[in-house]
């Protein structure tokens, strides 16, 4: 028994080492960097002054808050949308279902940059969506480009396939007799959803929540191209520190903050939804 367990670890060792090397080392290097003095701040390192600096300026706090808000908004919109889509997907028969899943994965294959370029064209004031409405005098110029709404729209679109696929897998794991048992006991469609489908799919809702939140919080392309300088998030801030102000240490601290916040959010999310997962 013990020998077998040792063997397991031995067999796992190469991949664990590789993971540590590829993931752990850069992370450690980045975190070490974030503790060092830089052109703006002189202190005897390693110390947390970079973090203190970022956390003491209202401007950066605003960036942090915006990052979390965008991620939360994206998650809160993507989960119900994804849930509805996953339920529809479940109703499709084999061939149509496969086609739909291929269609869903297409934006992932195309890559976020391609898709964001499309959104830039679509969301422009003179674009095909808003252009005619604005011209007809039906709506005032909404200026979606450069606004938070524009970023959220594109983020939702970006994370939606992941949400749908995660929720779809979760829904499929519910045995069909569960629904039939509930029906035979007198549960209508709404009761079945509330008492059977939803509670049994909560683990996948949690997964989808973590995935969508993390993807949105760490995404760079959408806030960069659609939000611009007026909608800085932690990722675009990191990029500014590196590319514009050449402050690698502050960039590392901002990235470290992002990492910590995402970890904290995942823990909070797990605690919040996990309370409802029984037994």
């Amino acid at each position: 028994m013990n020998a077998a367990r040792t063997l397991h670890w031995l067999l796992l060792l190469p991949s664990l080492l590789l993971l540590a090397l590829l993931l752990g080392l850069p992370l450690a290097a980045m975190l070490a960097r974030s503790l060092e003095p830089n052109v703006l701040l002189s202190f005897t390192g390693p110390a947390l002054d970079n973090y203190a600096y970022l956390l003491s300026r209202a401007y950066y706090l605003q960036v942090i808050w915006r990052t979390l808000r965008l991620a939360a908004e994206t998650m809160l919109i993507a989960i119900p949308l994804g849930y509805a889509a996953a339920m529809l997907l479940q109703g499709l028969s084999g061939r149509a279902g496969n086609l739909a899943i291929m269609g869903l994965t297409f934006p992932i294959l195309a890559g976020p940059l391609t898709v964001v370029l499309g959104w830039m064209a679509l969301l422009a004031d003179g674009g095909p969506f808003l252009g005619p409405l604005v011209e007809a005098g039906l709506i005032a110029r909404p200026r979606l480009l450069g606004s938070e709404a524009g970023v959220v729209i594109s983020l939702v679109q970006f994370v939606l396939p992941f949400a749908v696929l995660t929720l779809y897998t979760g829904l499929r794991q519910i045995q069909p007799p569960m629904h039939e048992a509930a029906r035979s006991l007198g549960a209508g469609a709404l009761s079945r959803f509330w008492h059977v489908t939803l509670p049994l799919s909560l683990p996948s809702v949690l997964s989808a929540g973590i995935i969508t939140f993390s993807l949105a919080a760490s995404s760079f392309i959408s806030p960069h191209y659609l939000g611009g300088a007026g909608q800085l998030t932690l990722t675009t801030l990191v990029s500014q520190f590196i590319m514009a102000t050449f402050n690698a240490e502050l960039a590392a601290a901002a990235a470290g903050l992002l990492l910590l916040l995402m970890l904290g959010s995942v823990v909070a999310l797990t605690a919040a939804i996990g309370r409802f997962i029984r037994p």
Binding site: P177, E180, A181, S184, L185, G186
Partner: protein, 356 residues
């Protein structure tokens, strides 16, 4: 008053007919077993009764009211699933109380009903557990209690005992009958285990390829099979093919290719016709002395002996025909070894002849 009536119910799946013009009546308070080989349409029939599957043709009435188009949640029919389908995220008590909760009953009323149901299936005190913390047998009882808690008009069970070990299965047969009897509820149980059907049912409905073959009391199904299929399917049967030589009303003489002539009984027999005789293994006597009292008696040689515990099966060769006789494992019965010479014998009544 007849309780459940199926008339000409048919269900097709992409060209394949799973249930074919099925008509049957389950009487008030009756326990009916649907019996048949795998794929004969038992589950489909049950699902049509429950409302999970639609009937392509035909109609169903329950208590005299047409339920053909009624959705399952309105049918007031309790269902026990083969996989039990207990809600894993609800406790035993919540599972059992679910149906009453859907009916908007008060908390106190549900609690009382759950206690009663738990007592009925002898699971007192386990209401707070989650299904995964129960044994298979206990889960089965919870599934039964859950289906019964809504006081259904009809109880349906699809192979409810198939996931239990042999001993528990026998116990649950008695238990299910006890509960069904004490509640006086009408019940339909699907099984492919003929022992289960014969032991439990008031009447057995034998199905084959989506069609009803015979519906009768267990003894009648066993002793007087209505079709060749039932004759062959129920019990352990010797099938002998030949040609009818003489027919006199319901009795006939069947000549086998090897020269044996069997006296038997059947319906719709005509001389010259090809026919099959069916003799149950335990109805064949195997003796060293000639059984002069039996109309069918042939000298034979024992070919193979199979020890079965409660009985011993002897495969014997007689004039080119191979027959198996099943004797009780009891000192009053003679013992044989392969190679022994002996006599086979049976009555004409135990030799059912089917044309074709």
């Amino acid at each position: 008053m007849p309780e459940l009536v199926l008339s000409h119910v048919t269900r097709r799946f992409s060209g394949h007919t799973a249930v074919d013009d099925l008509s049957l009546t389950v009487r008030d308070g009756e326990f009916v077993c649907l019996l048949g080989p795998s794929g004969c349409g038992k589950t489909t029939t049950l699902r049509i009764i429950a409302g999970f599957e639609r009937a392509d043709a035909g109609s169903l009435t329950l208590d005299g009211a047409d339920i053909t188009a009624l959705p399952p949640e309105k049918r007031e029919i309790g269902v026990v699933f083969q996989s039990y389908a207990l809600f894993p995220h609800k406790t035993v008590a919540e599972n059992i109380g679910f149906g009453l909760k859907m009916r908007g009953r008060s908390r106190a009323e549900i609690a009382t009903a759950v206690e009663q149901a738990l007592a009925l299936v002898r699971l007192d005190g386990l209401g707070g557990r989650y299904p995964r913390a129960l044994s298979g047998g206990q889960q089965q009882r919870v599934a039964l209690a859950r289906a019964l808690a809504i006081r259904p008009r009809l109880l349906l069970m699809d192979e409810p005992l198939s996931n239990l070990d042999a001993q528990l299965r026998e116990e649950m047969r008695v238990e299910i009958r006890r509960i069904q009897h004490s509640l006086g509820i009408t019940a339909v149980l699907v099984t492919h285990d003929q022992g289960e059907a014969l032991a439990m049912a008031d009447r057995v409905a034998v199905m084959s390829q989506g069609r009803l073959q015979q519906m009768a009391a267990p003894a009648e199904i066993y002793e007087a099979p209505a079709t060749a299929f039932v004759g062959h399917f129920i019990g352990q049967v010797n099938v002998l093919e030949g040609r009818l030589e003489q027919v006199d009303g319901r009795t006939g003489l069947l000549a086998l290719p090897g020269g044996l002539k069997l006296a038997g009984a059947g319906q719709g027999l005509a001389a010259g016709q090809a026919a099959r005789a069916m003799v149950k293994q335990e109805r064949i006597a195997l003796t060293r002395a000639e059984p002069t009292g039996l109309p069918n008696r042939f000298p034979c040689r024992v070919v193979e002996r199979t020890y079965l515990g409660g009985g011993i099966a002897y495969r014997c060769a007689a004039a080119g025909a191979s027959l198996t006789a099943l004797l009780p494992n009891h000192p009053l019965f003679e013992r044989f070894a392969p190679g022994d010479a002996a006599w086979l014998g049976w009555t004409a009544a135990d030799c059912t002849i089917f044309p074709g």
